[in-house]
């Protein structure tokens, strides 16, 4: 392992990196040629189907599968008793095991169902219709239980116990900094509010799907749209197979947003193909997808914030309670992000945070772009605007007086090691709104708001995260990258091509990336936590630099020059001060090959590794670094109908370095609009655990008709810890959009709305 873990910016980016080149996956997607998980077929394949619980809480008295098995065309019916290891523990440190975060979950419900939509039985049949019919023929005798659907109810003594544990409390984290009593005593103005935010659905364009088969070597192959091909180990555990007997191959993904971070179809597929020995395909319908996969956690957040007359924040007290739903999944992690993020990008001497996540019989909650930060950001940014109003300061001015700068400590006592762009970003975002729109009617009020955030990129440092990438030079001078990165549609693969092309002096067209195959591509970790550009970008950069070094050494020999004096670009290696002395890259490649010099390298990038922070006080480093930015919004509110029209949106973020500016803007636009949906309309409605919004007829998201043009401003400080000084932007792009809109509405109507969606009481 190389010593230096933060590759320095020693390669001046000039040719490929930093340009809005068409992504390597763009043309095929535009032409409709890209295959998604559901587009694969194999001869003789069966169709899998999951029978799901119709109850949110019930005992399973018996399951009778006989009628289903008798149906012609049915090849397998499985229940919990047929699953070799039905109970698994979700554990998250691939490389470093940390305690305290485990959650049990079951492949298929056993004795008891904990939420509506929980898998109870599996079917494989010759056609989707037969599979459907067979599932209908399975008789499950349920004894309904009262269940519990509200996290506060679930915390009460004697509440219905969702799981087998003695309490519904999943975990409790605390942050203690300074002395909160002192902080409020020193405050001239104190605002206190309780905020509520709903479940949010990922609503990716591609519902979960996959295809599994057993290959000639007896290996179970699963081709699936997933953010985490590394679940192959858990799948192997379920089947009791060794890890090299399960291979997961990721497809291009039609959106993940965290919803494809947990296992979806892959274990079911593995079980059915293992049982039938035939290829099995499974694809969820939209309703099934909405009903069964994890959602963004609803939170109830009580915030008390105090400031001096001069607008200096003195104290912040936050009590967070989130609804984990029926199984633990990623709830403790999400809560940790909320806890660390609860005070926002502000310098506050006295902080007290109490955060709990609680099991209920609702659909489980799990990862969703922003991972616990959008919720708290809505709360702390709403607090800021109310404080600003009380202090007669502009929202921007109040923030300016309190933003954390490099070298200052966050609420969790981590001293920021890198540039914190908040002041600059806030100013630019607001400025980008341009002149204020004039209202055309007395009933329509125009308002503006901003929301600032500090969102981590890269996983928690106590996980000791790693990524690997292979970069190789082909004999014709083209470049091959192999990296186990999953591409969600965000350009994860293409960025790696751009980085390798830059370092090896070739064009994007000459660079080919092979991704997401646990058998053939070096394992690169999850495409989550805004980590892939940072982690796999660094690994790819490291590997490419090794290959480049070999090439330059050889070229130096050929040209009789020092490798350090050589320049490599456009497929030619030349002497920097005397470009007439040059040699084609091809020639150097062949020279290396014939003299046994390696033309490939696999690099492993290790994120900074720390030990687990004790969350009784919550002081220490939790994340490798943060991305800072601000959203600004202008809205028109019709005070007679409650209708909110979004007039303008702007997003300004310090992205460190835009490897591909257009791709970065794509993230900013998408995140902002998804955040707009969160602010204005999205709401998964559950009635005693039953989903009332199972399709896009009830669960509405903004479409192209609703999206406004997002004015994107990129700050490139170069002070990120990714390749070329890049930071991550996938999740940050969503986080502060909702509070910017909420604050704009507050500005328009003169009162804050403490609930999302903002239109809940005006519809």
């Amino acid at each position: 392992m190389p010593e230096k873990q933060h590759p320095a910016n020693d390669h001046p980016p000039v040719d490929v990196v930093g340009r809005s080149l068409p992504r390597c996956d763009a043309a095929d997607k535009a032409l409709g040629n890209t295959k998604y998980a559901e587009d694969y077929f194999l001869p003789g394949m069966l169709y899998g189907k999951v029978l799901r619980s119709e109850h949110a809480a019930a005992k399973i008295l018996s399951i009778d599968t006989r009628n289903a098995e008798k149906l012609s065309g049915v090849r397998a019916v499985m229940t919990a008793k047929d699953v070799p290891h039905n109970e698994t523990i979700t554990r998250f440190g691939q490389t470093h095991t940390v305690g305290g975060f485990e959650g049990l979950y079951r492949i298929l419900a056993d004795k008891k169902v904990r939420f509506m939509g929980e898998g109870v039985a599996l079917v494989a049949a010759d056609t989707p219709a037969i599979a459907e019919e067979a599932a209908r023929l399975i008789r499950v005798d349920y004894q309904p239980l009262p269940g519990v659907f509200d996290p506060f109810e679930a915390l009460k003594r004697g509440a219905h116990r969702v799981g087998e544990e003695s309490s519904n409390l999943v975990c409790y984290y605390k942050v203690r900094q300074g002395d909160i009593t002192e902080g409020f005593a020193a405050s001239d103005v104190i605002v206190k509010n309780t905020y509520r935010v709903p479940f949010q659905e990922h609503a990716y364009i591609e519902p979960e799907a996959g295809l599994a088969w057993i290959d000639d070597d007896g290996v179970i192959n699963i081709q699936v749209c997933t953010q985490v091909i590394e679940h192959y180990r858990e799948i192997a555990d379920v089947l009791g197979l060794s890890y090299n007997k399960v291979r997961v191959k990721g497809t291009w993904i039609g959106g993940g947003f965290g919803g494809k971070e947990d296992i979806t179809v892959e274990t079911y597929l593995a079980l059915l193909t293992w049982k039938t020995k035939r290829p099995v395909k499974m694809a969820y319908s939209r309703e099934e997808s909405i009903i069964c996969h994890g959602k963004r956690h609803p939170y109830i957040m009580t915030y008390k914030t105090g400031a001096t007359r001069e607008g200096k924040l003195m104290a912040l007290e936050a009590k967070l309670v989130s609804d984990a739903g029926a199984y633990v999944y990623l709830s403790p992690w999400v809560l940790l992000y909320s806890t660390v993020g609860a005070a926002g990008p502000y310098k506050i001497p006295h902080v007290k945070i109490d955060a709990r996540t609680v099991l209920t019989n609702n659909t489980f909650s799990s990862a969703f772009r922003g991972f616990g930060v959008p919720q708290v950001c809505f709360a702390y940014e709403s607090q800021m605007d109310e404080l600003a109003e009380r202090l007669h300061l502009s929202p921007l001015e109040l923030r300016r007086r309190n933003y954390l700068r490099k070298g200052e400590a966050t609420a969790t006592g981590y001293v920021l090691e890198h540039y914190a762009a908040s002041p600059e970003a806030a100013e630019k975002a607001l400025e980008a709104l341009g002149e204020k729109t004039k209202s055309k009617s007395p009933a329509v009020k125009i308002g503006r708001g901003i929301g600032s955030s500090m969102t981590s990129y890269g996983r928690m440092v106590f996980l000791h995260d790693t990524s690997r990438s292979y970069v190789g030079m082909e004999l014709d001078g083209s470049v091959t990258v192999r990296c186990g990165v999953q591409d969600l549609g965000g350009g994860q693969a293409s960025s790696l091509a751009q980085i390798a092309a830059e370092i090896l002096g070739v064009s994007m067209a000459d660079t080919r990336v092979f991704i997401a195959d646990t058998a053939l591509t070096p394992i690169a970790g999850t495409t989550t936590a805004t980590r892939q550009l940072y982690m796999s970008g660094n690994a790819t950069s490291m590997a490419a630099k090794e290959v480049r070094k070999n090439l330059l050494d050889k070229a130096g020999e050929i040209l009789g020059a020092e490798p350090g004096d050589l320049d490599l670009r456009d497929g030619i290696i030349s002497v920097m001060n005397d470009p007439s002395r040059s040699v084609p890259l091809n020639t150097v490649v062949r020279a290396c090959a014939s003299s046994g010099i390696s033309l490939f390298h696999i690099a492993q990038f290790n994120a900074p590794a720390r030990e687990l922070v004790d969350f009784k006080k919550g002081q220490g480093q939790v994340f490798p670094d943060f991305t800072f930015g601000t959203h600004a919004a202008e809205v028109a509110v019709d005070v007679e109908t409650g209708k909110i029209d979004v007039l303008k949106l702007a997003a300004c973020f310090d992205v460190g370095k835009a490897i591909n500016p257009q791709a970065v803007e794509g993230q900013l636009e998408g995140g902002t609009i998804q955040g707009m949906g969160y602010a204005l309309l999205e709401d998964v409605i559950l009635d005693k655990g039953i989903t009332l919004t199972p399709s896009f007829s009830e669960y509405l998201i903004p479409t192209s008709l609703d999206a406004v043009d997002v004015r994107c401003i990129l700050i490139e400080s170069g002070d990120g810890i990714g390749p070329f000084g890049a930071k991550g932007v996938g999740e940050p792009s969503l986080v502060s959009a909702a509070p910017a809109l909420a604050n704009a509405v507050r500005d328009a109507i003169g009162a804050g709305i403490p609930d999302l969606p903002l239109t809940r009481n005006a519809s």
Binding site: P128, E132, T641, G642, E698, S763
Partner: protein, 294 residues
């Protein structure tokens, strides 16, 4: 239920004449259904709320696709798609309320496939063409083996997705009387996103003489089991000089008259409150148009 598959097995016919279509519906028993654009029916089939054994498409019957002005009225064949009505409305401005309604009905795909007859036959309380057609005093023409009949649209809607049409009756066309010269019309709906079913909708047709409302008709969608003709307000406004405060009162009367429900799209409380506001906006627009302004 799996919305990725059409579970029902069905026969499919696309007859070229009304006679053939009527014969087919008679031959194929009670589970046979007519289908036009399918934008309502296919959704129901996927949700398994209906399972027709036979589908009889009406899209090849030329009589059902007329769209023309005749003396005294406009004829719109039941199988005319929204696209065509939209194109017609941009040339012929006689029915601005209908034009407004079609402009906010569905989006590209639904407009290309969906038909006006299908909208009225599904008879959702939120059907966007209904309030506009109601305020223009439209009639629907039905045909069955028993003969032809014409019904006032106002008498056609009976309950949630229930109409006076018998299962074996084909709706052939909608006839809209030509409005008198000083009539202005408008329609507006409130919805949550750009492409959405109405939370509430309102259509107004008003005949204006200077500042006096000679007569008006008001209809609302998604506030009752059927698209609703509003009774009290037209009487109240008749022969009155229109002022802002008069409209506020009229709006309040509407809020009092309607009995909406709470569903996933909206609440009863919100619908009641906003109905009066919506009415005022729509009335204002129709009023301006009646004065010859766009």
């Amino acid at each position: 239920m799996n919305t990725r598959i059409l579970k029902a097995e069905f026969d499919y016919f696309a007859p070229a004449s009304i006679g053939e279509a009527l014969a087919l519906i008679a031959q194929n028993g009670p589970t046979a259904r007519f289908i036009a654009g399918g934008t309502d029916l296919l959704v129901q089939m996927k949700l398994e709320t209906v399972a027709p054994g036979c589908l009889i498409s009406l899209m090849k019957i030329s009589e059902l696709s007329v769209l023309k002005r005749e003396k005294g009225f406009l004829r719109i064949g039941a199988a005319v798609t929204w696209d065509r009505i939209l194109a017609f409305g941009s040339e012929d401005r006689s029915y601005p309320a209908l034009d407004d309604a079609v402009r906010c009905l569905g989006k590209v795909q639904v407009r290309r496939m969906g038909t006006i007859g299908g909208n009225l036959c599904t008879a959702s309380p939120a059907a966007d063409s209904a309030p506009a057609l109601l305020v223009y005093d439209s009639r629907v023409r039905l045909v069955s083996a028993r003969g032809r009949r014409t019904l006032l649209l106002d008498k056609y809607f009976l309950g949630v997705q229930q109409t006076a049409r018998a299962a074996d009756e084909i709706m052939t066309e909608i006839r809209i009387p030509a409005p008198r010269p000083d009539v202005g019309g408008a329609f507006q709906k409130l919805a949550r996103v750009g492409a959405d079913i109405s939370k509430i909708s309102c259509a107004v047709a008003v005949e204006r003489k200077g500042r006096v409302c000679v007569s008006c008709r008001v209809a609302m969608g998604a506030v009752a089991p059927v698209p609703l003709m509003i009774r009290g307000v037209p009487e109240f406004l008749q022969e009155k000089t229109v002022t802002a405060s008069l409209l506020v009162t009229a709006g309040r009367m509407i809020s009092d008259e309607i009995r909406p429900i709470t569903d996933v799209r909206s609440t009863a409380e919100y619908r009641k409150q906003v109905a009066g506001v919506l009415f005022r906006d729509v009335f204002q627009k129709a009023w301006t148009r009646a004065g010859g302004e766009p």
